[in-house]
């Protein structure tokens, strides 16, 4: 009796803390979304109230959809995010496999070198990156962004994935070798499915900063045809006048694709796929 009431109290406490945190974390998003459906006056008069019959307005969305090529911006953002994500996961997993599976000279040194990127922000190298892109004629292309984001995401991916791959049983890989699998097939058919939860984690961690980034699109690809959503939304922010309806609508729209991607990966976050493989 005592025990169960104590654990009940504890779970209430834990849940209220988590709920509080959720409210704090979601509050700004909530405010953005509700205000994107209000008229300009209503936004300033009572920013926290829900849109009602008088204040409801789609003017922000209309502006966004009329203004320039917001679909193109979305497409750019998606292309950059998905391609970078794909390359980060592919190369990160391959490097992690090599580091965790094969014994070669300088293995741990190489691992350290690849992990170093976690500690050094890539933006420190912006000037050099810009020079590089100018020299190779990649300025104002999506390729430039994809390359930079791939480089930015790799260190963390390699670090996390190599830890997970070390935990994949050696016997399993050896069984594959005896069954006649090549090293590539062992990687793709045996190891990758087993580290899927880790891949999903890495995917989420990699995806969000890329989608939200303003810095590199602004510097490397500010042209109209390569603008990303975050950069596109800046059109409505002026030095003297800001079109808040449009900004909030653009931001609300920008949440949708990333939310969809997140939902896809979070379904893969189911643990225990490896449970029972190896006793």
């Amino acid at each position: 009796m005592n025990h169960s009431s104590a654990s009940f109290g504890r779970s209430v406490a834990a849940h209220s803390i988590l709920l509080l945190y959720t409210v704090i974390a979601l509050f700004p998003v909530f405010v953005i979304v509700i205000n994107s459906f209000k008229s300009r006056k209503a936004i300033f008069r009572s920013p926290l109230s829900l849109p009602d019959e008088q204040t409801f307005s789609l003017i922000g969305y209309q502006t966004v959809l009329k203004q320039g090529d917001f679909f193109l911006y979305f497409q750019n953002s998606l292309t950059v995010t998905v391609m970078s994500l794909f390359l980060v996961l592919l190369f990160g997993a391959m490097a992690a496999f090599a580091l965790s599976e094969y014994r070669f000279k300088g293995n741990s040194l190489m691992g350290l070198y690849l992990a170093l990127g976690i500690m050094i922000p890539i933006r420190l190298g912006t000037v050099a990156i810009l020079k590089l892109m100018v020299a190779s004629g990649l300025v104002n292309t999506l390729t430039a962004l994809i390359l930079v984001y791939t480089a930015q995401g790799l260190p963390l991916a390699v670090f996390i994935l190599s830890e997970f791959m070390r935990n994949v049983s050696d016997d399993l890989k050896n069984a594959g070798r005896i069954d006649g699998l090549s090293e590539y097939r062992i990687f793709f058919r045996l190891v990758l499915p087993l580290v899927r939860p880790a891949m999903a984690t890495v995917a989420v961690f990699t995806m969000i900063p890329i989608w939200n980034d303003l810095w590199f699109p602004l510097i490397l690809a500010p042209a109209e045809e390569t603008k990303t959503v975050t950069l596109g939304a800046q059109v409505f922010i002026g030095q003297f006048v800001t079109n808040w309806n449009a900004v909030l609508a653009a931001l609300s729209l920008a949440i949708v694709p990333v939310l969809v991607l997140y939902l896809i990966f979070s379904r893969q976050l189911i643990r225990g796929i490896t449970a029972g493989a190896v006793k």
């Binding site: 049983s169 016997d171 399993l172 050896n174 069984a175 594959g176 070798r177 005896i178 069954d179 006649g180 699998l181 045996l190 499915p193 087993l194 796929i273 490896t274 449970a275 029972g276 493989a277 190896v278 006793k279």
Partner: protein
């Protein structure tokens, strides 16, 4: 099917030598068990045969081929691992069929082959399950099925029963032995359990510190152990070892009447170690060898293990299960001369 031969196999890990020249010939269709304490090189030998590891020097032959430089898949072998190593994200059917993936067979033939293997291992109804829905014994059976499906020349087993509970282990032991009698492929089986070795093997290879100590049938290694290590390793409880002295065809043990031993290779008087198994040392009996005080009794049902102190040394003997002596009794112990083993005191080798 094929024979397997190891010729002067040497393996170094860095500067540590783990195999000191292993020579072994396994006949076609033979069930051979490599047994020894951990770190004796038995698993390393198996991995070298499988091709998962290379030897530092020496040759591995499977059939008539030297396979030193061949990949595991080219060696016509299959291996069963201690951790089962079945693919967790595939159904039982796909696990078993996985080895056939590259085989040049029609799809129907492959399915038929998987069904046949499942029938032999009586797990047809489990084919559509995932590994995490199986018990330990069933998982091990899947692993064996995956090995069987390709009908390899040689089966390699790397301590496959170590993770199972005692009852299941006994059962799987029997199943593997029956399987061998049915399919007749060459089997090389690694274990650290001498009971597994004794019960399953055609011949046992006993290893220690990277060297083969003895190769022989279960009867040979039990009744004619080549040295002290083998004598102690095989048989439970362990063989009793007593210090003694050989002179003119008689063995003298401390404070015990000498007994006859007609070993021909001994010429002069010399110290020896006398080994006698608890199974052969009986309480009472016709010709008592020595007497001592009973310390501890371990009733096993059909018999009772009796720990007896003889001149300060503790020896283990067997008494009947129905009427064992009591603790504190002074009992006489007897053994027949043919069950007494003599070993050289310094080298530990058997004296014949």
């Amino acid at each position: 099917m094929a024979s397997v031969a190891l010729q002067n196999l040497v393996k170094f890990y860095g500067k540590t030598q783990v195999l000191h020249g292993i020579d072994l010939t396994v006949a076609d269709g033979e069930f051979i068990v490599l047994v020894g304490p951990s770190g004796c090189g038995k698993s390393t030998s198996l991995r070298i045969i499988s091709g998962l590891e290379g030897a530092t020097s020496g040759d591995v032959m499977i059939g008539e081929r030297v396979v030193n430089n061949l990949e595991p898949k080219e060696r016509d072998i299959a291996m069963v691992f201690q951790n089962y190593a079945i693919y967790p994200h595939m159904s039982v059917r796909r696990n078993i069929g996985f080895g056939l993936r590259t085989a040049k067979m029609s799809k129907a033939d492959k399915t038929a082959r998987v069904d046949e293997v499942a029938r032999i291992l009586s797990m047809t109804e489990l084919l559509d399950r995932k590994p995490d829905q199986l018990s330990g014994g069933q998982r091990q059976r899947v692993a064996i099925g995956r090995a069987m499906v390709r009908d390899p020349a040689v089966f390699l087993f790397d301590e496959p029963l170590s993770n199972l509970d005692a009852q299941l282990r006994t059962q799987m032991r029997l199943e593997i032995k029956k399987l061998h009698q049915r399919v007749g492929n060459t089997i090389i089986f690694v274990t650290h359990d001498q009971v597994e070795a004794m019960t399953m093997a055609d011949r046992i290879v006993i290893m220690k510190e990277g060297r083969i100590q003895q190769v022989g049938t279960p009867q040979e290694v039990f009744h004619l152990p080549a040295n002290l290590f083998v004598a102690r390793f095989i048989g439970a409880p362990e063989m009793n070892i007593l210090k003694g002295h050989w002179r003119d065809g008689l063995v003298f043990l401390d404070g015990v009447a000498p007994f006859k031993s007609d070993v021909s290779s001994l010429l002069k008087s010399q110290p020896v170690l006398v080994g006698v198994r608890p199974d052969h040392l009986t309480v009472g009996g016709e010709s008592p060898l020595f007497a001592g005080t009973v310390n501890v009794l371990e009733p096993l049902g059909s018999e009772t293990l009796v720990y007896v102190t003889v001149n300060g040394t503790e020896v283990i003997a067997k008494a009947s299960g129905r009427a064992p002596p009591a603790v504190g009794d002074v009992v006489s112990l007897s053994a027949s001369a043919e069950d007494m083993h003599l070993f050289d005191e310094t080298s530990g080798q058997r004296i014949t």
